[in-house]
C-alpha cells in the first residue's frame, strides 16, 4: 500500500470514529439536560447517609460519598488479595493432584474442575453464601475458648472478625478461580519438554524432587502469564459481591446511583477504580515475573 493511501485510510476511519463519538456525546448532553441531571462531581463531597457493614478504615454515614467509595475500593482490594492467595494455593494443589500419580486424587480433581468450571460463578457464590455459610445456623456454632468462633455471622479469630459475606465471597472466588489456576499450572507443567522428565528420571532423581527442582522452575515462565490473567479475572469477578451482600466498590456504586441518580459519573468512577486495580495486579505480576527471570539468567 502507498504511504498516502495509508494516511488517507487512517484519516477516514478517525473521522468516522470521532464523528460517531461526538454524536453520542451530543445525545448524552441533550438527554442529561432533558432529564435535568447534568454532569458534575460535586455530590461526591456530600454526606453519604448510608451505613456500611464492613469498613477497614473508620466510616460513618455522615462521611462523604467519596470516602464511601474509597472504603468500597479497599473492601474490593481486601477480598481480591486474600482470594488471590487462597486460589493460588488451592489451584496449585489441584494442579499437582491432576498431574500426580494418585489416580483417585487425579479423578477427583478432574471432577472438581468440570463441576466448578461449568456452573456460573454467580450461582456458586449464592450457594456458598446462603447454603454454605448462612446454613451454619445460630445454634450450630463452634467455639474454642473464645479465641476461635464460627457462626453464620462469620469467623472470629483472636479479635479479628471476618463476616460471612466476606468469607462466602472469598471461598466462592477462590474455589472458582482455583479450577482455572489448576489448569494453568497443569499447562505449565506439560509445557516442559518430556526430555526433562526423562533426564531427571534417568539420573535416579525421585518424582517429587524432580517436579520441584527441575520441572516447576522451568514451568514458571509459562505459568505466570496465565496466572496474571486469572488474577485479573478474579478481580473483575469480585464485583459479584453484590449477590452476597458484601460492600465492594460495585455495590457501593450501585447504592449511590440509586440514591443520587448519578449513573454516568458513577460509571466513570467504577471504570477508573478498575483500571487502577488492574494496574496494581499487572505491575505486581510484572515484578514477580522479572524476579523469576532474574533468578533464571539462562534464557
Amino acid at each position: 500500500m502507498k504511504k498516502n493511501q495509508k494516511l488517507f485510510l487512517q484519516f477516514g476511519i478517525s473521522i468516522i470514529f470521532f464523528g460517531l463519538f461526538g454524536i453520542l456525546i451530543n445525545n448524552l448532553t441533550i438527554n442529561l439536560i432533558r432529564t435535568g441531571l447534568g454532569f458534575n462531581f460535586s455530590w461526591l463531597f456530600k454526606p453519604a447517609s448510608f451505613a456500611l457493614a464492613e469498613h477497614p478504615l473508620p466510616y460513618t454515614s455522615s462521611d462523604s460519598y467519596a470516602w464511601a467509595l474509597f472504603i468500597g475500593w479497599l473492601n474490593s482490594l481486601k477480598v481480591i488479595v486474600s482470594s488471590l492467595i487462597l486460589a493460588t494455593f488451592l489451584g496449585t494443589l489441584i494442579g499437582f493432584a491432576r498431574t500426580g500419580t494418585n489416580s483417585l486424587l487425579g479423578l477427583i480433581s478432574a471432577g472438581y474442575i468440570t463441576i466448578i468450571r461449568q456452573t456460573p460463578l454467580l450461582l456458586q457464590l449464592m450457594f456458598w453464601y446462603f447454603v454454605g455459610f448462612l446454613g451454619l445456623k445460630d445454634n450450630m456454632f463452634i467455639q474454642i475458648k473464645n479465641i476461635f468462633n464460627i457462626s453464620n455471622k462469620g469467623i472470629e479469630f483472636s479479635g479479628l472478625t471476618f463476616s460471612s459475606e466476606f468469607l462466602a465471597l472469598l471461598f466462592g472466588l477462590s474455589i472458582f478461580t482455583s479450577a482455572y489456576i489448576a489448569e494453568v499450572i497443569r499447562g505449565g507443567i506439560l509445557s516442559v519438554s518430556r526430555g526433562q522428565w526423562e533426564a531427571f528420571r534417568s539420573l535416579g532423581i525421585s518424582e517429587r524432587k524432580g517436579l520441584i527442582r527441575i520441572i516447576l522452575p522451568q514451568a514458571l515462565p509459562a505459568i505466570i502469564p496465565g496466572l496474571t490473567s486469572q488474577y485479573l479475572n478474579l478481580a473483575k469477578n469480585s464485583t459479584l459481591a453484590i449477590a452476597v451482600g458484601y460492600s465492594d466498590i460495585y455495590a457501593i456504586n450501585d447504592t449511590i446511583i440509586n440514591q443520587t441518580g448519578r449513573a454516568i459519573e458513577c460509571f466513570i468512577i467504577l471504570l477508573f477504580s478498575f483500571l487502577l486495580l488492574n494496574l496494581l495486579i499487572t505491575n505486581a505480576m510484572e515484578i514477580i515475573n522479572r524476579l523469576i527471570l532474574k533468578s533464571q539468567r539462562y534464557s
Partner: protein, 248 residues
C-alpha cells in the same frame, strides 16, 4: 566376563497390533560396546530406553547389572538400576535453569547424598576430561551443541555408572561439531566403559564397537561384529539400509 545387559524376548506395542519391540533378545558383556542401527521408527530408542526403565515393556525379561525387571515395572528396582546406569539423549536434555556444574552435581548430591564440595570436585574433573572445564559457571544455552552434549556425558558419568546408554548422541549436532562428541565417546570406550549406542555414525561404529545390532520394525535382524556388518552384512535389509546411508 560378566553380562551387564541381558534381554530375553522383550516385546512392546504402543498401539494395538503395531509392535515397537518384537521378541528382542541380546547380551552386552562388561567393557563391551554395542552399536544399534536401523531405520527410523524401527524401535531403537524404545529398546535402549527400556534398559533404565524409561519405557515399560509388555512381555519378556531384562537383567541389568544383575537386577531383574519384568513387565510389572517395579519402581524400587528401577530406581536402583537408574543409580547405576547413565543415559545421554539426542536432544541433550540439560536442565536449562541450572549452571553446567549444577547440572552435573545435582544427582550426586541428591541421589547419592555426597557432599557438595566433593561432588563439585569430581564434576570439575569430568568437565576437564571432556575438555570443557572453562564453561563450568555458564548456562546450557550459552554453549554450542557439541559442548552441551559433552556436558550431558559428564552428567551421566557423575554417578560413576557401570553402563552408559546413548540415544543418537550426535544427530542433533552441526556437522562440524559431531567429531568433538564422538572423540569423547571413543575415549570412554577405550577406558573400558560398557556402552550401548544408538547411532548412524559408521566411522564410529567401525572404530569402537564390538557388535553391531541391526533392527527393523521392532525385530532384531542381525547382530554381527562391525567388520562383517559393514563389509558383508548377512541380511538383504541391512545391506539396503547401509546403501542408503552411503548415498548421502
Amino acid at each position: 566376563m560378566e553380562p551387564i545387559v541381558v534381554a530375553k524376548n522383550l516385546s512392546k506395542s504402543y498401539t494395538k497390533g503395531l509392535r515397537a519391540l518384537d521378541n528382542v533378545s541380546l547380551t552386552v558383556n562388561q567393557g563391551k560396546v554395542l552399536v544399534v542401527m536401523g531405520p527410523s521408527g524401527s524401535g531403537k530408542s524404545t529398546l535402549i530406553r527400556t534398559f533404565n526403565g524409561l519405557e515399560t515393556f509388555d512381555r519378556g525379561e531384562l537383567n541389568i547389572l544383575g537386577i531383574k525387571i519384568d513387565s510389572t515395572h517395579d519402581e524400587r528396582k528401577i530406581q536402583k538400576i537408574r543409580r547405576r546406569v547413565g543415559m545421554v539423549f539426542q536432544q541433550f536434555n540439560l536442565f536449562p535453569h541450572l549452571s553446567i556444574l549444577e547440572n552435573i552435581t545435582l544427582a550426586p548430591v541428591h541421589v547419592q547424598k555426597r557432599r557438595q564440595a566433593e561432588a563439585e570436585e569430581y564434576g570439575m574433573y569430568l568437565l576437564n576430561q571432556m575438555g570443557i572445564d572453562s564453561h563450568a559457571k555458564k548456562y546450557p544455552s550459552q554453549l554450542s551443541g557439541g559442548e552441551q552434549q559433552r556436558v550431558a556425558i559428564a552428567r551421566a558419568l557423575a554417578l560413576k555408572p557401570e553402563l552408559l546408554l546413548f540415544d543418537e548422541p550426535t544427530s542433533a549436532l552441526d556437522p562440524e561439531r559431531i567429531n568433538e562428541v564422538l572423540d569423547a565417546m571413543r575415549k570412554l570406550a577405550r577406558q573400558g566403559m560398557t556402552m550401548v549406542v544408538v547411532t548412524h555414525e559408521i566411522g564410529f561404529a567401525k572404530d569402537v564397537s564390538d557388535q553391531v545390532l541391526f533392527m527393523d520394525s521392532g525385530k532384531v535382524i542381525e547382530t554381527s561384529p562391525p567388520n562383517i556388518f559393514f563389509s558383508n552384512a548377512r541380511h538383504e535389509r541391512s545391506r539396503k539400509f547401509l546403501n542408503q546411508l552411503d548415498k548421502q
